[in-house]
């Protein structure tokens, strides 16, 4: 029977299927971090259990770590305690930890791919909703809660109902100044922050196919922002090329065997999806959000939709969002002064993001009143940026290159945006208070963020790019 890619991978991981029960799904790789794991380790202790498959579990510290002076003890007491707890738990339960100071440390969704841990055909979970990032390789990857982290610790399995499938095709060529982040912000703006709920999404079409692996990760990363369980892209030569030679990628004969298997991982031509959506890449402009959920996005030269144009039941929430942001109906965002620029997070902190920003700002200066933070996704990204001299470009532009972590995406560490300030951010969520109490977040691509950093205002980057 014809199957979608999700069905192929899912069915290959079902340990037990029984009517009236969720499937028992085998999990190949479990990634953990300091925030959502302590209660799960504690649960194991209370049950007197060990980790069922510790060698299939990898840990890093990312959410709570400072992005300055990482060689010193963490100043904030609760953060330090949580990071120390992870170290202790990993030692006690035999889990490999790439903690602070390790050359592989970084945001969990950045290090998995760069180490060759993320592979096509795998099932992967993490106590973090942006686990969908790993779907870029043609893996089934999704975020779970702490009770489920404990379940995977104890059994290497999860009880999960098979999700519905959705195909989102983006065809054609992207315009100047438009990238992967704009594609996904555009899709979410079209289908809303709940438009993918209940579905596992396969991204397809020529515009997706032409993206690099890192760009594909940006797209899959934000699948959760439309409510989807996860997003994935069928693996192809771009995928295999990226994986080959990475630290934990299969080698030698195992590589050949893997490659043969991976080449079977695509949706059959006559497979049926529960929902299919198609978009034209040419319709996508550089995107920006104006509200307090990622579905509230517009082309950067569009006007904010009016409250009256929203369904009646949604007008109250819509108006609340605009009030929070300090924006009005029908206003244009272009030229609006901003205070902070944050370039980082599991969405956009990889080397290609940093290269794109550096190539744009080379020889330029940041605007005087704007503070600009660049937070690389991992120690490896940081090292690569320095090796390529990007640090020098950032320094002379007045951008601060910091050390790896989740940082101002969610402001668990000291990297918070002050109340009322506007932050143009390459992260994934513009929720109220996400980047700090009463902070105002505008989600954009790295290129649009770089343009705002240079002008100090919301700017259509296309006007600053050479023809």
């Amino acid at each position: 029977m014809a199957k979608t890619l999700v069905e192929k991978i899912w069915d290959a991981h079902v340990v037990k299927r029984e009517d009236g029960f969720p499937d028992i799904l085998y999990i190949d790789t479990h990634l953990i971090h300091e925030v959502t794991s302590p209660q799960a380790f504690d649960g194991l202790r209370k049950r007197g259990l060990k980790l069922f498959r510790p060698q299939q579990t990898v840990a890093t510290a990312d959410h709570n770590v400072p992005t300055l002076d990482q060689h010193l003890p963490i100043k904030e007491e609760l953060s330090r305690y949580q990071v120390d707890m992870l170290t202790k738990n990993c030692a006690e339960f035999g889990v490999e930890l790439y903690g602070l100071g390790h050359r592989y440390q970084g945001i969990v969704h950045v290090i998995g791919p760069e180490l060759g841990i993320t592979l096509p055909g795998k099932t992967m979970v993490c106590g973090d909703s942006h686990t969908s990032t790993h779907g870029a390789f043609g893996a089934i990857a999704f975020g779970i809660g702490t009770s489920q982290v404990e379940q995977v610790f104890a059994t290497q399995c999860l009880q999960q109902s098979k999700p519905k499938t959705m195909k989102i095709e983006v065809n054609g060529e992207l315009g100047k100044g438009v990238g992967a982040k704009d594609i996904i912000l555009y899709i979410i703006a079209k289908i809303s922050a709940a438009g993918g709920t209940g579905y596992f999404v396969e991204f397809a079409g020529s515009a997706i196919r032409s993206l690099s692996m890192e760009a594909r990760m940006t797209v899959c990363n934000m699948s959760i922002e439309m409510g989807a369980r996860g997003g994935l892209i069928a693996p192809d030569e771009t995928t295999f090329e990226y994986i080959k030679g990475r630290e934990f990628a299969p080698k030698g004969e195992k590589w050949d065997e893997a490659l043969a298997y991976w080449k079977t991982l695509y949706s059959d031509a006559d497979a049926t999806f529960d929902s299919v959506l198609t978009f034209d890449a040419a319709d996508i402009a550089p995107m920006i959000t104006y509200g307090t959920n990622p579905g509230m996005g517009i082309g950067i030269d569009d006007k904010i939709p009016s409250t009256a144009a929203q369904p009646t039941s949604e007008q109250l929430s819509y108006q609340k969002a605009l009030d929070y942001m300090g924006f009005d109906d029908d206003a244009s965002l272009i030229g609006k002064p901003i205070d902070y620029v944050f370039i980082g997070s599991c969405t956009n902190s990889r080397i290609e993001d940093l290269r794109e920003v550096a190539s744009f700002v080379k020889g330029k200066q940041k605007a005087a009143d704007v503070e600009v933070w660049i937070v690389p996704g991992s120690k490896q990204v940081e090292a690569q940026a320095i090796a390529e001299g990007l640090d020098k470009i950032f320094e002379s532009a007045g951008f601060q290159l910091r050390e790896p972590g989740c940082s101002a995406c969610l402001g668990m560490n000291e990297d918070k945006i002050p109340a009322g300030k506007y932050c143009v951010s390459t992260s994934n969520r513009n929720f109220e208070g996400r980047q700090g109490p009463n902070a105002r977040t505008l989600l954009v691509s790295p290129l649009t963020a770089a343009a705002a950093a240079v002008t100090g205002k919301i700017t259509d980057v296309r006007e600053l790019l050479e023809a």
Partner: protein, 199 residues
């Protein structure tokens, strides 16, 4: 996990859509390493101003509202996977959350902790909000066995869906881990016969 029993209670209405888990429990309160105590910071930035003074107009601060049922606008629990959101709601004293739509991960987390998420129609949700606006002490009855929720004052009732397995877990207070651990032989057999072994 405690057993879920039939419940009649007044409700606390939060008539806001797309309530994300950063609102339910902001990230800066996720540093605890136990499951307890998150209720104190439930909806922190909606309940308290920047000087930590309670905002009188937020329903959770308004003494006219009480009860074990939280009712909220559609797409409740979107965003981060933090189970702390379910813990905070439960720790604050709620046993049930009603909305016309839930984000997947939140729904799963709630069920795994014995907090019952009930998805009702938009129309029934509006009925509940209207009823509470008329009479803040108005009660709902939630019958998990029968899978119904009833507005007691009007007798208006709607049935809701729940996976039969999760239903039995809630009613009996079971958790998933014991169940899956009982299948260890199957898991090991699966590992031996796996389509492709990554390890």
């Amino acid at each position: 996990m405690k057993k879920f029993e039939k419940l009649t209670s007044a409700v606390v209405p939060v008539n806001i859509e797309n309530v994300d888990t950063d609102q339910i429990i902001p990230a800066r309160f996720l540093k605890a390493t136990t499951r307890e105590g998150f209720g104190e910071n439930l909806f922190r930035d909606w309940r308290f101003d920047s000087d930590n003074q309670p905002k009188a107009d937020f329903p959770l601060n308004n003494p006219i509202y009480s009860g074990k049922v939280l009712v909220a606008g559609k797409n409740f629990g979107c965003g981060s996977s933090r189970e702390h959101a379910a813990w905070a709601i439960q720790d604050h004293g709620f046993d049930v959350v009603i909305s016309s739509f839930f984000a997947d991960i939140f729904k799963g987390n709630a069920l795994n902790n014995g907090l019952l998420p009930i998805q009702v129609s938009d129309a029934f949700l509006a009925e509940i909000f209207n009823e509470v606006e008329k009479d803040t002490k108005s009660t709902l009855t939630v019958d998990l066995e029968a899978q119904t929720v009833t507005i007691d004052a009007t007798g208006s009732s709607e049935s809701f869906e729940i996976n039969p397995y999760k239903k039995s877990c809630l009613i009996n207070g079971y958790d998933d881990i014991d169940f899956v651990r009982s299948q260890t032989d199957l898991i090991e057999k699966f590992e031996e016969n796996k389509v492709f072994k990554f390890y």
